[in-house]
Symmetry: D2
Subunit: 181 residues, 4 copies
């Protein structure tokens, strides 16, 4: 069985980015938990389920804890799902998180990032830990309680930079006042 | 400002229990994360939002990780929200998790557990950690991603019994194969 | 096959009424289209689907065109779905349309109106025309576009006062077998 | 106040059609009630509310009673909402009813049919009676019970073939101001 590259370092291969001034690199978010929402603008399940979830993620967590990134991985109808069409889609659906365009392949309908990490289709949800490793590679709809539990667990993990100095810090994000999001 | 008893030990004061053979004691679930769904059978928000969430919690996590408990805390219409009426409600709504009846007060409309921990009303959601301490005391509707994150974080905490021997166990529930629920 | 009494005169057999000062009689609404929502307060499908539909009907049409009536037809758990319990339910769910209690049978669990017109269970939706005849007797959930079409068609029918002049106009899309879409 | 052309004859001005072999003309559906769903493929409200309603209409009524027609009236992002892009959209969303492309204007962003009948935007729902007259011109979301009632009432009206004998029957619940519930 394929392991979907879970546990290994993850990086996006993109040609163009929206809602940001520079190219999107997962490496730039080291120390944060990153959720990548992989979609196509003409994919009904992406619009009805994936997109509301991506917006909900953006609103449910502090942006310095959890960063939401979109990845437009076109594997069909390439002639109409162009970067210009995506730009109109982003405008109409009022998406404000950074969105990258997966690099088209020279040899296949499947773009480069999608092929490299064997995404099952769209929508796919990726969760990347504070150290830049892929921890979830999930195709289709997803249970929000379970996704929240994965994110809550990853938020508790130390990032590689601060791991040593915080070794004596106790149980993390919960104290006598409650558990903070 | 009141702290809603968060961080302190929590126990139910109950007169009667359904879906279980003995009286429900939170102490009996030491080592598990416990979610208590506080409700009244004639409370519209409990039926429309709280109940589906309680069932979803029961299905989303392994029962040896997360235990769902119902607590019927009647503070109005006492004459019709009797244990017999609750029994019919449990039967009709096909609830299968253990449900306790909060002990009525001799001096007030508010039952004993509700009064002791200052629940804001119904539905209220309580989350109790592996050591039996109250970690969330939330009145009203709740964001499932955020609730999942709290549970995910508490699942990572060691329970008091096993804390010493597992001290060297690394990052918990996620490994190279993924994050397990 | 049973015809569910469609096309015949309809009247409620009730012992008690709420949200009105006198006993509810369908005959008192002659000239209006009447929708009767048959329910039990502990029936999950009634609370989740039937009740929102009844409220929507009340808000979607002028009350002198369409009158919504509730009918509490208890055929199980009689000891806890009492008129007192129903009164608390009506208060908590903020129901404002007239609600009648179906007369309990001396010989059966099924109350008198339910038995007389062979309702299939709860929720059941009845639609009665301007002349007091039953035109729809539907058990379970229902398509709102189709229900709206039945009501729109019945609103176009003349009431008994103006019937003479149109006596030769046959009754349109409804007959003894029901109202067809 | 504008009357939105309600009560007057309606015809589509279209350049291209999908899901049908010939150009779509409302005149070809004389004798049926026609519902026209006016949309843009990148309009979020069209995709989330209008499209499910159009599919529901198609399934709720017999096609020889009610004909559903789509009209793609593009007034923004013309360069990406092309007929080719619409064709991919129709394929992905599995739309099976006939869909016409509103004729682009030489002088304005607003296409010809949209301009002629002063649609308020997208989604707009038009209802056309058995004689080809516009009876509802509604912008935005709509109550399904009320829409069903309008359709139910129009289904009861005679078509042009049988009109002579009923010539003195005035047009019922719809007039130049619209169709009243």
């Amino acid at each position: 069985m394929l392991n979907n590259h879970v546990g290994r370092p993850f990086e996006i291969n993109a040609t163009k980015s929206f809602n940001t001034e520079k190219n999107i690199k997962i490496a730039d978010f080291r120390g944060q938990v990153v959720v990548v929402y992989v979609f196509q603008m003409l994919c009904p399940g992406c619009v009805s389920h994936g997109l509301p979830l991506a917006k909900n993620l953006q609103q449910s967590f502090r942006s310095d804890d959890v960063q939401v990134i979109g990845l437009h991985s076109v594997f069909e109808h390439h002639e109409v799902m162009t970067p210009s069409a995506l730009e109109a889609f982003i405008h109409e659906y009022r998406l404000t998180f950074p969105i990258a365009v997966d690099t088209p392949s020279q040899h296949s309908n499947v773009p480069e990032t999608m092929k490299a990490y064997q995404f099952g289709g769209t929508p796919t949800l990726l969760v990347i830990d504070r150290q830049g490793r892929l921890r979830l590679n999930h195709f289709g709809s997803i249970n929000e309680l379970q996704l929240g539990a994965i994110i809550g667990s990853l938020l508790d993990e130390k990032s590689v930079q601060t791991q040593t100095e915080d070794a004596d810090e106790s149980s993390g994000r919960c104290d006598d006042e409650g558990c903070r999001i």
